[in-house]
C-alpha cells in the first residue's frame, strides 16, 4: 500500500543575516533529495520554512510545522539563536529535532532528550585550536579577535580554557560588538603585540574585514587561524591569504573523502560554481541520517518517540567522509575537527591541505559550564 510520506519540517535561514548559511544548507540538502527516495522505500518529504534568522519566527515556524503540517521531526537551522529557539519548542513539545549546523554547546546540554546535533560544539573548536597551536609551538602567544556572538563567545571560551591548560598565552583579546565595521586599530594593536598566532573569530562580512586589515598591516598569513572556513569565506579571504589556516569538518581537499563524497563535490561544483564545504555536507548528511532512521524502524515514520529512540541508538557513518555518527545521551556527537592550510585560491576552487586533525569526547572540557 502506498504509505503516506514522512514529513520533516526544515526551518532554516532563507532570509536575514545568516541566509548565506541557510541557503548553502538548502543547496546541500537538494543534492541529497535526488537520491533520498529510491523506489520501494517510504517517501521522505522536507517542508521548508524561512525563519528570517529570527528566533521568534523560528518558534512560530516550528509550531506551524508541528501543528499544521504534523511533521514527524524538525530540522534545518544553521544559526545558534534560531536553533536554540526551536530547541526550546522541541523539548517542551517532544518533537525530535535534528540540528544540522549549529555549534552552540547548550543545544545538547545535559538533560536534552529530543534534540540531536551533527556539528561538533563550538567550545570544542576552541579547545582544538589550543591543541593545534600547542603542538606547533609550545608556549606560543595567541592574539584573539572575536565578534560578540554566542557562537564566537563559545569558541573563545573553549580556546581560553584549553590554552591555560597548555601553557599558551592569550594576548590581546579583542571583542567586537555585533555590527562592527572596523578593525584597523585592533589590527595595529595585534601587530604591536607581535603574537605567534592570531585567531580570527568573525562572522559574515566582518570576518573579511578583520582578515584584510590584519594582512594590510603586515601580519603574515601563516599566523592567522580561522576556527571554521566555508568555501565562500575562503574565497573572501582571497589569494593573499595563502598560507593561513582554518578549521573544518568536511572539505573538498580532505584525504578522507569517500567516493560518494567525491561525487557530491563534483556535482555540487558543476552546479553551483563553487566547492561545497561542511555546511552543505552536514545538510546532505542530515537527510541520509533520517533515511537510515526510517529504514531502521518503520514505525519511526509515524511515532515521534520511536523516531527519537531510533535516532538516539543510531550507529552510522557520514556517507561523504566515512566519519562515524553516534550520539551521546544528550544528543551530541563524538567530536572532531581538521585544520587545513590554504595553498591556493582560485575563482571556483581553492586548494588546501590538512595539517592537523583531532577528535575528542563532547565533555572532555566542561563545555556546559564554560558557555551558558
Amino acid at each position: 500500500a502506498a504509505q503516506e510520506a514522512v514529513k520533516i519540517g526544515f526551518v532554516t535561514e532563507l532570509t536575514g543575516p545568516w541566509s548565506f548559511f541557510g541557503t548553502a544548507c538548502v543547496a546541500g540538502l537538494k543534492f541529497a533529495e535526488a537520491t533520498l527516495n529510491p523506489p520501494g522505500k517510504r517517501k521522505i518529504e522536507f517542508i521548508q520554512i524561512d525563519n528570517q534568522t529570527q528566533p521568534t519566527q523560528a518558534v512560530a515556524a516550528a509550531r506551524n510545522l508541528d501543528i499544521q503540517s504534523k511533521v514527524i521531526a524538525l530540522s534545518g537551522p544553521t544559526s545558534s539563536d534560531t536553533a536554540l529557539a526551536i530547541y526550546g519548542y522541541a523539548e517542551q513539545n517532544k518533537v525530535p529535532f535534528l540540528v544540522p549546523v549549529a555549534a552552540f554547546p547548550q543545544l545538547t546540554k545535559p538533560g536534552t532528550r529530543y534534540s540531536f546535533r551533527i556539528e561538533p560544539n563550538a567550545a570544542g573548536w576552541g579547545y582544538a585550536i589550543a591543541e593545534f597551536v600547542a603542538q606547533q609551538k609550545p608556549g606560543a602567544k595567541i592574539a584573539l579577535m572575536h565578534s560578540d556572538f554566542a557562537l564566537m563567545r563559545a569558541i573563545s571560551a573553549g580556546l581560553k580554557y584549553q590554552a591555560a591548560k597548555k601553557g599558551l598565552k592569550i594576548e590581546p583579546e579583542i571583542v567586537f560588538p555585533q555590527g562592527s565595521n572596523d578593525a584597523t586599530v585592533q589590527a595595529a594593536q595585534v601587530l604591536a603585540a607581535n603574537p605567534d598566532y592570531v585567531v580570527v573569530v568573525g562572522a559574515g562580512g566582518f570576518d573579511n574585514t578583520i582578515t584584510n586589515q590584519l594582512l594590510d598591516v603586515g601580519i603574515k598569513p601563516e599566523k592567522i587561524i580561522h576556527p571554521y572556513g566555508m568555501a565562500t569565506q575562503v574565497k573572501g579571504w582571497g589569494k593573499r591569504s595563502v598560507g593561513s589556516l582554518y578549521g573544518t569538518f568536511f572539505d573538498a581537499n580532505l584525504d578522507t573523502v569517500t567516493a560518494e563524497g567525491r561525487k557530491f563535490i563534483d556535482d555540487f561544483k558543476a552546479q553551483n560554481k563553487r566547492l561545497p564545504s561542511y555546511v552543505e555536507n552536514y545538510c546532505y548528511v542530515t537527510s541520509q541520517i533520517i533515511r537510515e532512521v526510517i529504514d531502521a524502524d518503520p514505525k519511526a515514520g509515524d511515532d515521534r518517540e520511536v523516531f527519537r529512540n531510533t535516532l538516539s541508538a543510531l550507529k552510522s557513518k557520514e556517507v561523504t567522509s566515512g566519519i562515524p555518527i553516534e550520539f551521546d545521551k544528550n544528543g551530541a556527537r563524538k567530536e572532531y575537527i581538521y585544520f587545513m592550510q590554504i595553498q591556493d585560491v582560485g575563482e571556483v576552487e581553492y586548494k588546501s591541505k590538512p595539517v592537523f586533525t583531532t577528535t575528542w569526547d563532547p565533555e572532555i572540557i566542561p563545555v556546559y559550564d564554560l558557555v551558558k
Binding site: 579583542i174 584597523t184 586599530v185 604591536a192 566582518f206 565562500t232 573572501g236
Partner: protein, 291 residues
C-alpha cells in the same frame, strides 16, 4: 613604536569612519533640513549603493572607479524617480515629517526584503577589488592605498559639499525654504525645485558614503540599519538641518569609536556615543549646531 602605531592607526580610523559618518549624516540632514523628511531608509540607500558597486565591480567586472562613478551617477535618476512617484505627494501635507517617516519605513521594509532575497546569499562575500594596489606607511602604520584613496575622496567630497552649501546661493535657499517656505517663494525661490534638488543631492551624498565605505571595508546587509541609527543620532546631536553639525559630530563619532575601541573595547565604543548623545540632549535639547 607600538604606542605610535596604535596612535596613528586610531587617528586614521577616526578620520575614515568620521568621513563616512559625516557624509551619510550630511545627506540625511540635507533632506531633513529641506523637505522635512526623516529618512529612515537612508541606511538602505547607503547599502544599495554599496551593493550596486559590488555588482558592478565584481559581477560585471567593471573597473572599480568606473563602477563607483556609475553608481553615484545612477543615484540621481533613481532619486528623481522616487521624488516623482512618492516624495512630492507630501510636499504640502501639514505634518509631513511623520508621513515621510512612515513612508521611509515602508521603503526600508521593501528594500530590506529585496536585498535579503537577492543579495542575502552572498552576504559574507561583499568585498570590492581595491581601487589601487600597494601600501603607504603613515609613520610606522601601513595603510592600503585603496583605503587612503577612499579617505581622500571622502574629504574632498565633504569640502565640495560644504562649499556648495556655504558659498552658493543654493545653500542659502535651502535654509530659507526650511525656515519660511512661502516667504522664500515670494523672494523668487522655486521651492519645489529646491526640494527636488535637495532630495537628489542628499541621496547622492549618502550613496557616495556607501561607495566609499565599500571600498574601505567589506560589509554585509546588517550595516544598513546601524547606519540609519548612527546618522539619525548624528543629526540630532548636530542639530537637525545643520550640515556643519553633521560633519562635526560625524567626525566626533568616528574618533570616539576609534579611540574608545582602541583604549577600552570596541563594544564599549558603541555604547559610548549613543550614551554621549543622551547626555548632550539632556544639556542642550536643540542639538549643538541648531540653526
Amino acid at each position: 613604536m607600538p604606542t605610535e602605531l596604535v596612535l596613528i592607526s586610531t587617528l586614521f580610523t577616526g578620520l575614515m569612519l568620521g568621513v563616512i559618518f559625516s557624509l551619510v549624516a550630511a545627506g540625511v540632514t540635507i533632506i531633513y533640513g529641506s523637505i522635512w523628511m526623516p529618512n529612515a531608509a537612508n541606511g538602505q540607500f547607503f547599502l544599495l549603493a554599496a551593493l550596486a558597486l559590488w555588482s558592478a565591480a565584481v559581477s560585471w567586472g567593471l573597473h572599480p572607479v568606473v563602477a563607483a562613478l556609475l553608481v553615484i551617477g545612477a543615484s540621481v535618476p533613481a532619486s528623481l524617480l522616487l521624488e516623482q512617484v512618492l516624495i512630492r505627494r507630501f510636499y504640502d501635507v501639514p505634518n509631513r515629517n511623520v508621513s515621510y517617516f512612515v513612508l521611509s519605513l515602508g521603503i526600508t521594509q521593501i528594500l530590506a526584503g529585496l536585498f535579503s532575497v537577492t543579495y542575502g546569499v552572498w552576504s559574507d562575500q561583499f568585498q570590492i577589488p581595491p581601487l589601487m594596489a600597494g601600501i603607504t606607511f603613515l609613520g610606522p602604520f601601513p595603510v592600503s592605498n585603496s583605503r587612503l584613496a577612499a579617505l581622500v575622496t571622502g574629504v574632498a567630497l565633504l569640502a565640495a559639499l560644504f562649499a556648495l552649501l556655504r558659498y552658493h546661493k543654493y545653500g542659502r535657499a535651502i535654509r530659507a525654504v526650511f525656515q519660511n517656505r512661502d516667504a522664500a517663494s515670494l523672494r523668487g525661490v522655486n521651492v519645489r525645485a529646491i526640494y527636488r534638488l535637495s532630495f537628489v543631492l542628499g541621496n547622492l551624498v549618502v550613496a557616495a558614503g556607501g561607495v566609499l565605505y565599500a571600498f574601505a571595508y567589506s560589509f554585509d546587509l546588517s550595516v544598513s540599519w546601524s547606519m540609519s541609527i548612527t546618522a539619525f543620532a548624528i543629526m540630532i546631536i548636530g542639530g537637525p538641518g545643520s550640515v556643519v553639525g553633521a560633519v562635526a559630530v560625524g567626525m566626533v563619532f568616528g574618533f570616539t569609536q576609534a579611540i574608545v575601541s582602541a583604549f577600552a573595547s570596541p563594544t564599549v565604543a558603541t555604547f559610548s556615543y549613543l550614551g554621549a548623545m543622551l547626555l548632550i540632549l539632556l544639556m542642550k535639547p536643540s542639538g549643538l549646531f541648531a540653526r
